[in-house]
């Protein structure tokens, strides 16, 4: 042991160096003078989720499929699908609440969203005066434009945009031959309470991006064409086939069948009516919400096949279909004597 007190003075030398150094060396400083100076947050930084829309707030990407609600670990998301007066899902949320006093900023909702609709904000100044309602973000609070997204996270957003564009292009290209086919003559079910004319054409107010709209138009027209009177070219069905497969890579080759009910705009009775004469798998599929949201882990076709084939025993996986679908599935399975 050296002289008693040596270590003490060594320590004092260190603090003295820091004392003097703090006047000259900004690197040394621990703190930032917050409201005036701010640390630039990295692009990856995340706080609370928001919903992305394209162009105008009506064109939100969210379709209300409830995947994020299901997956959210602290269950802070609450979604009610928007339906028209006839109870048809409008493919957008009516209520979308995120309770940011519960949200733990884990980003799992972003990861599971198949539509690139929900993203993480990096605004960290969210203090409010009220513990309850002020800390619940409703749909209007949550909606932010794609430009905003591009502004806060340039690299990530441009990657997402490129991906969406590529998908849309692919879909559009696939659908292109079908587009040439004469429109409609869709099998308008007699029981249908006469919706807008040309039901299979997507309504103007439907919440789709132009890309999604283009794809859906192609999709529907091709599907409708096959199901409709023999005016449709045969290859359109063949064209449709790979798209299905691609959407569901983990199901065994889906049978190439026409699926006229695969329209989220149709109500459950209509869809069931369309699938009346079909085999069980098709009926099951018609009971789904037709959003191909993958909330169940499959697309609609794949989930129906999995149930019919016995690979999937859980009938409650269709989130957008809510209780309606689950009930119908159960009924169908009972009818088929499989439960």
């Amino acid at each position: 042991m050296g002289f008693l007190g040596k270590g003490l003075f060594q320590g004092m030398a260190v603090t003295a160096r820091n004392f003097v150094g703090s006047y000259f060396d900004k690197e040394r400083m621990v703190t930032v003078q917050y409201p005036e100076e701010r640390v630039q947050v990295p692009e990856n930084s995340r706080t609370f989720p928001f919903l992305v829309f394209d162009n105008t707030a009506d064109h939100m990407r969210c379709v209300g499929c409830k995947i994020c609600e299901e997956e959210c670990p602290p269950q802070c998301i609450y979604i009610v699908m928007d339906r028209d007066e006839n109870g048809k899902p409008l493919q957008r949320p009516k209520v979308f609440d995120i309770d940011i006093s519960v949200c733990m900023q884990c980003q799992i909702c972003v990861e599971v969203c198949p539509f690139e609709a929900i993203k993480m904000d990096n605004n960290y100044e969210k203090s409010q005066y009220d513990r309850f309602d002020d800390l619940v973000e409703r749909l209007p609070d949550l909606l932010k434009s794609n430009e905003y997204y591009n502004h806060i996270k340039p690299a990530e957003a441009s990657a997402v945009d490129a991906k969406l564009k590529a998908e849309a292009d692919k879909k559009a290209k696939k659908a292109a031959p079908a587009k040439a086919a004469p429109k409609p003559a869709a099998p308008k079910p007699a029981a249908a309470p006469a919706p807008v004319a040309g039901r299979l054409v997507i309504p103007e107010d439907a919440p789709f991006t132009p890309e999604q709209r283009a794809w859906l138009a192609g999709f529907l027209s091709s599907a409708g064409a096959v199901a409709g009177p023999a005016t449709a070219p045969v290859e359109s069905a063949a064209v449709e086939l790979p798209a299905v497969e691609e959407a569901a890579p983990d199901t065994e080759a889906a049978p190439a069948v026409d699926t006229p009910w695969h329209d989220p705009g149709l109500a459950m009775p209509q869809r069931m009516d369309l699938a009346k004469e079909r085999p069980l798998a098709d009926k099951l599929m018609a009971a789904m919400a037709q959003t191909d949201c993958h909330a169940c882990g499959y697309d609609c076709r794949g989930y129906a096949d999995a149930i019919a084939g016995g690979a999937e025993s859980d009938l409650s996986l269709c989130l957008p279909g809510e209780g309606e679908t689950a009930g119908m599935l159960e009924q169908l399975m009972k009818e088929a004597g499989k439960v």
Binding site: M12, A16, F19, S22, R28
Partner: protein, 388 residues
């Protein structure tokens, strides 16, 4: 005080005697209670700033330029805070304790020579007065701790009493060497004894070996007396929350702080007077401006001592209560006694240079020997082995 009285007598001989007396009382009192609380307020600011800088922060900088109004803001905040008295506390004692804490601390300033010929009261037993009064604060600490009816307060109070009483002894003995050297208990005489020499500096007692040791011992004692890190165990926040003032809030808490800071400022002043030459410094003996320069010297030296105390607070951990005791009784007390002998030896040696060397070496050896004697052999740096 006497000086003012004499000045009044020469300049305003027509003034009635009682008024003259009154003025000569009032001026020093006003000086003490206006200047030193101001110093207290800004010491807190300096402390926070310095600690901030030591820790690479900025310290308070929001109230006023460089946070200069921060002490006022603090005071206002403490004044407006709710005053909480525990339901089962001894209410009267609880109220009295902070008051008692302040009074002795203010009284300490009465005997401090703040400049050449500037001393509020030139008591011929100044040092005795300082020790007598400064011990009084322990009463307040114990009253506060006892009255709060809180176990942590009680622990803090017990610690405070034990600590202050133990450190009194080496502190007094350390001061004794100065008394021996000057032959006076008056602080003014002690300060005057350190004037002269090269630039009014070389005669400071701190430059004698016994003076230096006395200075170190006295500093340690003063720090313990005013419960500053590393001897802040009566209010060790990581162990017993805030010790004796755990149950105090608002302005009572502020009074405790005030008392504590004033005590440490006053003791810094006493340290300066006894060992660091008091108000002496280059230029302090000049006619006409000497009193101003000497005052400047005194206060800047005092702030220097306070800064060292702050610096130590920003660096060292706190000692444990039994270590504190054994340090006082096993290290400081023998050392201060040895120091007395050293001072005597220095006085009687024929050559000053020889005396300087001999006492310095002797004291060093004694310090080292005492450290060796007191270490239990188990506290050491260690080497570590590694497993692969």
């Amino acid at each position: 005080m006497e000086t003012i009285y004499q000045l009044l007598q020469t300049w305003l001989p027509n003034l009635p005697e009682p008024i003259m007396r009154l003025i000569s009382f009032a001026v020093p009192i006003l000086f003490v209670i206006s200047v030193f609380p101001g110093i207290f307020a800004y010491t807190t600011l300096i402390e926070r700033k310095a600690l901030g800088r030591i820790q690479n922060r900025l310290g308070p900088n929001r109230v006023g330029r460089w946070g200069l109004l921060q002490p006022i803001a603090d005071g206002m905040k403490l004044l407006t805070k709710e005053d909480i008295v525990p339901r089962k506390a001894d209410k009267f004692t609880h109220f009295l304790a902070p008051v008692i804490a302040v009074i002795p601390s203010v009284m300490l300033f009465a005997v401090l020579p703040v400049g050449s010929g500037l001393i509020p009261v030139n008591l011929n037993i100044g040092i005795l007065f300082v020790f007598a009064i400064s011990t009084g604060s322990v009463l307040a600490l114990f009253m506060g701790g006892w009255a709060s009816r809180n176990k942590f307060s009680l622990l803090g109070a017990m610690r405070a009493v034990a600590q202050v009483v133990s450190y009194e002894v080496p502190m007094v003995l350390a001061a004794l060497v100065v008394v021996m050297a000057t032959g006076s208990l008056s602080l003014l005489t002690i300060a005057q004894a350190q004037s002269g020499g090269f630039l009014n500096i070389s005669n400071w007692f701190v430059f004698q070996p016994w003076g230096f040791v006395g200075f170190v011992l006295f500093m340690i004692g003063a720090m313990a007396e005013s419960a500053r890190t590393p001897f802040d165990i009566p209010e060790a926040e990581s162990e017993i929350i805030a010790g004796y003032h755990t149950e105090y809030s608002g302005f009572k808490f502020a009074l405790f702080q005030l008392g504590e800071y004033l005590a440490s400022i006053a003791l810094a002043g006493v340290t300066v007077t006894m060992f660091l030459g008091g108000y002496n410094g280059p230029g302090s003996h000049l006619p006409y401006v000497g009193w101003l320069i000497s005052m400047g010297w005194f206060f800047s030296k005092m702030m220097g001592v306070i800064f060292i105390v702050i610096w130590i607070r920003g660096t060292w951990p706190r000692v444990r209560v039994d270590q504190l005791m054994s340090f006082a009784w096993k290290m400081l007390l023998p050392m201060s006694i040895i120091n007395i002998f050293a001072a005597a030896l220095y006085h009687f040696m024929p050559s000053k240079f020889l005396a300087w060397v001999v006492t310095a070496v002797g004291l060093l050896i004694c310090w080292w020997g005492l450290a060796k004697l007191n270490s239990d052999g188990e506290i050491k740096k260690r080497t570590y082995r590694y497993a692969n």
